[in-house]
Point group: C2
Chain length 334, copies 2
């Protein structure tokens, strides 16, 4: 028999369907012998509960979504795994929905359509709430405000859309970037370049934080957007810091400016993650965000919204998490 249901079990055991339901769910008001018998035949017939039906009847799913809008190669999957485990510890399951903003656009002619569909589904009963990592400011604001209007419990994690009244969990990027700048500066840096061109709040906060720190130190810092196309580093400077969010971006910049950066003393500052040797820098300083804690707080705030709805005011809107650690890599090979 294919996919036995509670009804099937009830017939086989010659009891009512509601007894079967109770027995399998460990309700104490079933005779031990009945429970035994029912459970055995459930096992024997390979019964599996239908979660669709259960969730429909119960009105909730105990499932959370985390929606990533990706650019570039995106973060590692392990960042989502943290959230998954945290949710699981709270007896929720978590699913990741992915949208790649860069690719597949022209290919199928429906890049935004895909994103739209994901967000739409988030308000159609499959999930109790969503953690959202948005990316494009412009398109996000209208699509996401629909979700807000639908009262879908949601949290922005890492990045966010400031226009929307949605709780945010993120690193204190202003302060983190400032600290990163100071740590880079400690290597006798005489000049800095700040590569945070993305039009989103996180990049802006990092740019501002690093900029202010360098200014206080009296170190001239060039913002990427101030760099003209044929900008050249001043020849006389010999030690330079370059800060960015991602190794890839930094690397591409270095390759473009190869001729000028060669034989300069370089210090790189990045967030999260660095693979391999510092090269071409002498040192890389990495501001490692606390994914575990970001996940914990996101899930926590989300579940709070789900379980006590209409509790608008008490949760402050912006939660910040400190950097987990600053890691320094030095050249080991020459």
């Amino acid at each position: 028999m294919a996919k036995p249901t509670l009804n099937d079990l009830a017939k086989v055991c010659e009891v009512d369907i509601s007894t079967v339901s109770r027995a399998l769910r460990g309700d104490p008001r079933v005779k031990a012998s009945s429970r035994q018998r029912i459970r055995e035949t459930a096992e024997r017939l390979g019964y599996r509960p239908n979660l669709l039906a259960r969730n429909l009847a119960g009105g909730k799913t105990r499932a959370l979504w985390i929606i990533y809008a990706l650019t570039g190669r995106g973060p590692r999957l392990s960042s989502g795994a943290a959230a998954s485990h945290v949710a699981n510890a709270r007896d929720y399951s978590l699913f990741v929905a992915l949208h790649d903003c860069d690719n597949y656009g022209a290919l199928e002619g429906h890049s935004i359509a895909h994103y739209e569909q994901i967000l739409e589904q988030a308000s159609q009963g499959l999930t109790d709430g969503a953690i959202i990592l948005p990316r494009r400011h412009e398109s996000d604001v209208s699509l996401l405000s629909d979700l807000v209007r639908q009262n879908v419990p949601m949290v922005f994690a890492d990045n966010y859309v400031p226009e929307l009244p949605v709780p945010v969990v993120s690193t204190d990027n202003h302060q983190a970037a400032a600290e990163l700048a100071r740590r880079c500066a400690a290597f006798d840096v005489e000049e800095a370049i700040l590569l945070f061109p993305e039009p989103n709040p996180v990049a802006r906060a990092r740019l501002a934080g690093a900029g202010e720190a360098f200014q206080q130190l009296g170190i001239p810092a060039l913002n990427r957007s101030e760099l003209s196309d044929n900008w050249k580093p001043s020849k006389k400077r010999t030690r330079m810091a370059i800060l960015s969010s991602h190794q890839d971006y930094l690397h591409r910049f270095a390759l473009r400016q190869e001729a000028f950066l060669k034989n300069k003393g370089l210090i790189f500052g990045v967030f999260d993650d660095w693979s391999g040797e510092p090269s071409p820098a002498e040192n890389v300083i990495i501001a490692v965000q606390d994914n575990q804690e970001l996940a914990r707080q996101s899930v926590d705030i989300l579940i709070r919204q789900i379980e006590k709805p209409k509790n608008l005011s008490p949760t402050p809107l912006h939660h910040t998490v400190p950097i987990a650690e600053f890691r320094t890599l030095s050249q080991r090979f020459t």
Copy 2:
């Protein structure tokens, strides 16, 4: 009014619920004027279909899962995004379920429990089928055979569990590693080290493929498992190739062997992905797997199983996809 249903719309519009259902789904047998009116009030009231109910009634979800068992930092999220877009183009949606094999084990005392729960849910009606990237051979075989027994449509992607009668989509790793070895060897390599210690079919195929290629070239190749703890590279060799699946593994190995590798001519060979400069190698050759095509085939085979069930024999069990490209990185900075 919270969450209007078809019923609510029916009352407001003073028509039957089935008419509303038809109107919203574009059934041509509704009078244009009715459809107009119904759609407007649906819009006005913020109606959203309940996918739980729809899927329960229809007996399918048009949702696919891709289940990752992660070790290390795991692949990039963008690998899953490819599958998501492919599924979307076929009018399915795709969700990623993540389990981190390394972390969170001791923490909550339920590392395996988490994985088990994910796999269990895969047979409980929430998905029509699953793409699975397994990792640990031992535990996977028993957990996954449950899924097989439940007739859950599934495909292994990238890695797989050979004992189970499940279609596999993967790179031809034997041949890819052989080609990678030959391309490394072309840099006048005199000795090779193969770092593929993981106990899974992919690592084994890569080890075998690279090993055979080096053997044919008459280049001595050391397998990691043959390396004693205080192994030292022979002093006289001057150019050495080191092959591995991941940059991280390679880098950790290089740091451990720092004293011996310094000032040697190194050629690295890896799969998929390299961030930054080749350092400490002179060159890195990257065998880039075709994620897009792997995703396309996985989704395709999965959907075929879903849509024409009980078609056991005609699909060959193992599908291989060629490497997308071999990329070579050379030192640009010294």
